[in-house]
Amino acid sequence: MPLAMNSSLEGKTARLELSGELDGNSAPSVRQEVEKILGASPDRLVMVVDRLTFMASAGLRILIFAKQRQPGLKIYMVQPQPTIVDTLKKTGFYDGVYVVDSEDIDKAAAG
């Protein structure tokens, strides 16, 4: 399934919604989008990924890129699918992101 992407910025919170498959082919465009988002220096990047069915190494590297490009950036992943969570855990990326159930980050964090 091809990747679909949608992004927005509200205050210091960037939102990036991804659905479909984030593989080696689609990763460059996502990375470009993330670069564009980081240009606005957000504090938080909320990635809505509940309909993202696959994330390859290239996708995970985008997370690292974002963290290294902007130290202090908090990355939230909203409802990632279990296979993606599994890969995040096994490769150590899980510790670098916040996996949450809701887009309402403040509420999710409080809960």
């Binding site: 080696g24 190494s57 290294q68 096994k90």
Partner: protein, 703 residues
């Protein structure tokens, strides 16, 4: 950031833009907008870079290095606008096919990069490969963007190490492990709490460089079961981790998974030593496949006979030409890479004596490779441990060229302790040396030059050492001809598994004796995965080809062998609690701190009279804790390997002090080992009875 001027393309071929590259570093390196490829060959006449899109059967392009891109013997090129994630690459080398002169160039074959950081083709363990693939082991790029969160190698003093040798897959492959990713780096990560609880502080991983589990695979002639290259002592590429050992290998993320494991082990205070195989490669002899080195520069990478065949000091078909300056640099680059990029804490070198041979196979007095490794600034804090022998008959235990840095697997320790425990005659004198860290072998290096072990992956498990007189390797399909016949084992009266409680109790006691001696000896103790819970291989002492229950750790033994496991945790803890056992200098046999006693004294059944005669099977050792740093309790241990119980006269514990029982292997649990606060005081401070084939350890609290 604007690209530098020298990162602009100058050439184009079939839509791929490229330019002259940088000769160093070798391998494929990401540069702005492209990848720099650099490869060495001293005798090739031409070289072609072959690029694939990942998993595609045919190359997307082949670009011959223009002659002006060759500097010396190095071909280098930057290719632009490549997708790092999706790229696979290799080379074709043109040159003479003159085996008698050592040249085996074959342009029809695509060969892998000796410096490949990731190798594709065996991404999932035991997934049957495409045998028709024109390029079966594909070089790929690795990323160095891992977040180490401040981690670095632990630099634990060698004297404090307790090493646990394990096979990555075998440790958790069994469904009984209960982990989410059996047989992988991630699986080990889930078992870190177990390792921590066991008390070890270093794991030594059997080979994790990329290898082909299908190499020499075959079906057992009777059972039909697949027999594989399970141990992995056959390297495909020295810089690439084994993808099949990673749950995420299918996604090409083995690098991240392994680094995550190492980072978490370090957080738990556990070091990582890699068992590295530089003595040969997976290309075998002249009948073997051309995978990389043979097709790039056969004469450089391998030791060749005058007729152009392969010297075989490894027992595996070929011998890497380690002391050729180019190969030497590759080994050095490789180890630096693992130390700096993976934060590996040390290396154990398989058949390391080969590393001290010259290009014709003759042992060198001053081997440049070993010297380079010893003095290398990046490796300066890494543990370097040699398996100080090879398959060509060179045996260097105690005489390995060490440069004050190298430690050794002490094969003499193994042999002596085994003989002593089984009650062989004339071992007591040598035992006195082994317990002290083998000063007879390592006087100028110190006791930490001695990696003390009784069992290793190669040979009987500790439980089998006391269950079998003879090897039982029928399951290997080689008519029981493989594996060592020289095991110094004893079956305790019955060959194989027994239901007799007395036989099993005796075996447990012998295992306890072995673990006790290991933890009481100066040097670096090493135990093998599963020995702490009585793992068996049914008498197989060479399980190199078994990817099944025979070689996997059965975790139900944690519950079935609680007594053994608790005891072994206890003796490891005992070692950790007593610095007097872990000195990094040899005993001086005199009082150097004014305690009134020498740092070590030997006794026998009579105090101050050790019997070293051939018929003796007893020895007792007294260690003065005042000589330890920090100051420690006094420790006395009596070893009685006679078949009868014997009285041991005790030395005076000292004014205001008394002997207390810490360990007694002749007693069943829970009286076999005590925590220090629970150790019972001896009623008779003048004598103890040490049971048959037993060890007693006493402590006297420091004042």
């Amino acid at each position: 950031m604007e690209s530098r001027i020298d990162y602009y393309p100058t050439h184009e071929h079939e839509g791929f833009k490229f330019r002259r590259g940088r000769t160093l570093p070798f391998g494929a390196t990401m540069v702005p907008n492209g990848v720099n490829f650099s490869v060495f060959s001293s005798a090739a006449t031409a070289c072609t870079l072959v690029l694939f899109r990942k998993h595609e059967p045919e190359p997307m392009v082949e670009i011959e290095f223009p002659q002006e891109f060759r500097i010396g013997d190095v071909y280098s090129m930057i290719v632009f606008d490549l997708d790092y994630e999706e790229l696979e690459y290799g080379f074709r080398f043109d040159g003479p096919w003159e085996p008698a002169w050592g040249h085996r160039f074959d342009k029809s074959k695509i060969v892998g990069d000796p410096y490949a950081k990731v190798i594709g083709g065996r991404d999932v363990w035991r997934a049957e490969p495409d045998w028709n693939d024109m390029y079966g082991h594909r070089s790929r790029l690795a990323f160095d963007d891992f977040d180490w969160e401040g981690d670095r190698p632990l630099e634990t003093p060698s004297k404090d190490l307790v090493v646990y040798e394990m096979h990555v897959r075998g440790f958790t492959a069994s469904p009984t492990s209960g982990v989410s990713a059996p047989g992988t780096f991630a699986g080990i990560r889930e078992k870190i709490p177990y390792l921590k609880d066991l008390g070890i502080n270093c794991i030594e991983l059997l080979p994790i460089f990329e290898f082909d589990e299908w190499e020499n695979s075959r079906r057992h002639p009777e059972t039909g079961e697949w027999l594989l290259n399970y141990w992995g002592y056959s390297t495909l590429g020295f810089f690439a981790p084994k993808a099949g050992f990673a749950a995420t290998g299918r996604f090409g993320m083995q690098v991240d998974e392994l680094k995550t494991l190492i980072k978490d082990l370090h957080k738990a205070g556990i070091e990582v030593i890699l068992d590295v195989v530089f003595n040969h490669t997976a290309e075998g002899d002249h009948r073997g496949p051309t995978i990389s080195y043979r097709g790039i520069d056969n004469r450089t990478y391998y030791m060749l006979t005058p007729e152009g065949y392969y010297y075989n000091f490894s027992g595996c078909g070929n011998t890497l030409n380690c002391n050729h300056p180019v190969v030497r640099n590759m080994v050095l680059d490789c180890l630096r890479y693992w130390a700096s990029e993976y934060h590996v804490d040390g290396f154990r070198f398989d058949l390391a004596s080969i590393l001290g041979r010259d290009q014709n196979g003759a042992p060198l007095a001053n081997p440049p490779l070993l010297e380079s490794l010893a003095y290398d600034p990046v490796l300066s804090k890494c543990k370097l441990i040699a398996e100080a022998w090879d398959a060509g008959g060179l045996y260097q235990v105690g005489s390995f060229p060490a440069y004050g840095r190298w430690a050794e697997w002490n094969g003499k320790y193994r042999d002596c302790i085994r003989k002593f425990i089984k009650g062989e005659m004339a071992q007591v004198g040598e035992m006195a040396q082994r317990i002290q860290g083998s000063p007879d072998l390592y006087y100028y290096r110190g006791p930490t030059a001695s990696t003390n072990f009784i069992t290793a992956h190669d040979g009987f498990t500790l439980w089998d050492l006391y269950s079998y007189n003879w090897k039982h390797n029928e399951a290997n399909g080689e008519n029981n001809n493989d594996g060592s016949n020289d095991n110094d084992s004893w079956n305790a009266g019955w060959e194989g598994e027994s239901t007799d409680p007395e036989t099993n109790a005796l075996r447990r006691k012998l295992v306890k004796n072995a673990m006790c001696l290991l933890m009481l000896s100066r040097g670096i103790p090493m135990i093998v995965m599963g020995d702490e819970m009585g793992r068996t291989q049914n008498g197989n002492n060479n399980a190199y080809c078994h990817d099944n229950e025979l070689a996997w750790l059965d975790w139900t033994m944690v519950d079935r062998n609680t007594e053994l496991l608790q005891f072994i945790k206890g003796v490891i803890r005992f070692r950790r609690e007593h610095p007097v056992l872990r000195g990094d200098r040899f005993f001086e046999h005199r009082d150097v701190v004014g305690s009134g006693r020498p740092d070590i004294r030997f006794h026998g059944t009579q105090a101050f009279w050790a019997d070293y005669s051939a018929g003796s099977r007893c020895l007792a050792v007294e260690l003065c804790g005042e000589h330890a740093t920090p100051r420690d309790d006094a420790i006395y241990f009596a070893m009685n390997m006679h078949w009868d119980g014997l009285p041991f006269q005790l030395p005076y514990a000292g004014d205001g002090r008394s002997w207390k029982v810490a360990i007694n292997t002749s007693m069943p649990s829970p009286h076999d080992i005590y925590e220090k606060s629970q150790a019972p005081r001896l009623e008779n401070q003048g004598e103890i009875i040490v049971g048959p084939r037993s060890i007693m350890v006493l402590i006297a609290d420091r004042l």
